[in-house]
């Protein structure tokens, strides 16, 4: 089966909002339409661009570029600070529209989602997917705004549907089937394929694979035993032929937050306050999913671009902000000087219920900690984010809510 192309009717529809945050800002502020716009996370010239509008991209502005450098390329560039609640609203609007077509909707990130029509109702199954794609585009214009555009990709699996959605940006609709698969792959570079970046490209190059077409023609054994040296090789072999191998959900294993320090050479105690703030946000994230953690990892990047990290696996699970910070603080004592960015990750996450059944020797203390933390979370949920927090983080208001890239778990 897997050696053949998947010749079934395409049933997967991928939707990708074009330059999502920039487009949402252009929708919200009509005077920005047609102008080059860059979305940044801070109101400073030294910050990196998170999203650029198509007008800015045409002038050579790319993601990750500093706003100051981008303005040299494009002097009329308008820098806008990101506004996560606005993007979350558009995300929920897109999800609402997609849910009208199938119960099998998976949002892949804040600006893209997949509808699987394989198990849809008989009425919906009769409809042409391209027609549904155009209808969703129209609904996005009618129900969110006329500046909103999206790309639609249709194929037999998630990977090819996403590839199709990236072919003609902005505002395209493309279908990849076994009939046009080779033609489509001819027009792409290896790194245009989702999941293939620098390191994997080098591995593929080392066995003489330089184009997606050569990748498609490689045999399964070579991919599995020589290139990927794992089952991933077999997955890529099937994925490229249109067979579904990505229909899976990943359990929550880690949660964290990072922050680029706003000043050079901040004193250690002030960096610790910011770390404390990140611990509070991470703790709230974990508890919102009824989870607790077993490990803490602290990471720092220094101005000489060096990375440093320290981690600790605890014998008992923990969940409160103070428990997370106590461990992070201890780990951070050995951090290097000249820190530019700090990050905290809690790992070894497990459902809270797993440990509630056996409280052990410190049962009373744990129960008290759980009750206090629960009460604080409840007050914050009722009266607003960070209504109650540690006095240590009173002066860390500069750490704003972050645009949730990647996972949509906390939307």
């Amino acid at each position: 089966m897997s050696g053949q192309y998947n010749t079934a009717l395409p049933k997967v529809l991928h939707i990708d909002l074009n330059s999502c945050f920039a487009t949402v800002e252009q929708q919200a502020r009509p005077l920005l339409r047609g102008r080059p716009v860059a979305i940044v996370n801070r109101r400073t010239e030294h910050t990196m661009i998170v999203t650029a509008s198509y007008e800015a991209k045409r002038m050579g502005v790319t993601l990750g570029m500093r706003l100051k450098e981008a303005k040299q390329l494009c002097p009329e560039l308008v820098g806008i600070e990101s506004d996560p609640p606005k993007y979350k609203f558009v995300y929920h609007q897109l999800m609402r529209i997609m849910n009208d077509y199938s119960a099998h909707v998976r949002m892949k990130s804040i600006d893209e989602g997949v509808i699987d029509f394989a198990e849809t109702s008989p009425d919906m199954a009769k409809r042409d997917l391209a027609e549904i794609g155009y209808e969703i585009k129209q609904r996005l214009w009618n129900e969110v705004g006329k500046a909103m555009n999206c790309n639609v990709g249709i194929a037999t699996n998630r990977f090819l549907a996403k590839t199709a959605a990236s072919l003609n940006k902005p505002n395209g609709l493309d279908v990849i089937t076994h009939k046009n698969l080779r033609k489509v792959l001819t027009s792409l570079e290896l790194t245009d394929l989702t999941g293939i970046a620098g390191r994997l490209e080098k591995r593929l190059n080392s066995v003489g694979i330089f184009t997606p077409l050569q990748f498609l023609d490689a045999d399964e054994a070579t991919l599995q035993n020589v290139v990927f040296k794992s089952i991933d090789g077999s997955h890529w072999y099937k994925r490229l032929r249109g067979w579904e191998v990505d229909k899976r959900d990943f359990p929550l294993k880690t949660a964290g937050r990072q922050y680029v320090l706003e000043q050079y050479h901040l004193p250690h105690d002030q960096i610790l306050q910011r770390l404390h703030h990140l611990c509070e946000e991470t703790g709230a994230k974990i508890r919102s999913k009824q989870m607790q953690a077993r490990g803490v990892m602290v990471y720092a990047r220094t101005y000489d671009r060096g990375g440093w990290h320290a981690k600790h696996m605890a014998s008992l699970p923990f969940f409160s902000n103070e428990a997370i910070f106590a461990q992070a603080k201890q780990l951070f004592a050995t951090a290097p000087d000249g820190i530019k960015m700090i990050a905290i990750t809690c790992y070894g996450l497990e459902p809270t219920d797993a440990q509630n059944k056996q409280l052990g020797l410190f049962g009373d203390e744990l129960a008290r900690e759980r009750a206090i933390t629960g009460a604080i979370d409840e007050i914050n949920a009722r009266y607003g984010r960070r209504i109650i927090h540690s006095a240590d983080t009173l002066k860390t208001q500069m750490i704003h809510e972050k645009v949730p890239f990647g996972s949509t778990r906390y939307m």
């Binding site: 502020r29 009509p30 005077l31 109101r43 820098g79 609640p85 606005k86 500046a147």
Partner: protein, 87 residues
């Protein structure tokens, strides 16, 4: 950065409340200075929570500048939060 001016100004708003997906539509508002701004387009309306209090943000324009109006659904008050891009 952009030439946004952040404000927190109580304004008087004339709005229609009808049916459909966007039932509330501000038409015009009077600023503290007495200047009346006629809204030519509502760019985006999004609700957001401030604790348990629901507020609705309206990003609007009069064709000469973009504005952000906040409607507090509990207190039934309107505030002008931002003005930008006066041309």
């Amino acid at each position: 950065m952009n030439d946004e001016v952040f404000l927190n100004e109580r304004v008087e708003v004339v709005a229609t409340f009808g049916a459909g997906l966007n039932p509330c539509n501000p038409i015009k508002f009077r600023r503290a200075s007495g200047r009346i701004v006629e809204i030519s387009e509502i760019g985006l309306r999004h609700p957001t929570m401030q604790g348990t209090r629901m507020v609705h943000m309206f990003d609007v324009t009069d064709g000469g500048a973009d504005y952000r109006l906040e409607f507090d659904a509990e207190r039934l008050t309107w505030r002008l939060l931002m003005e930008a891009d006066r041309v």
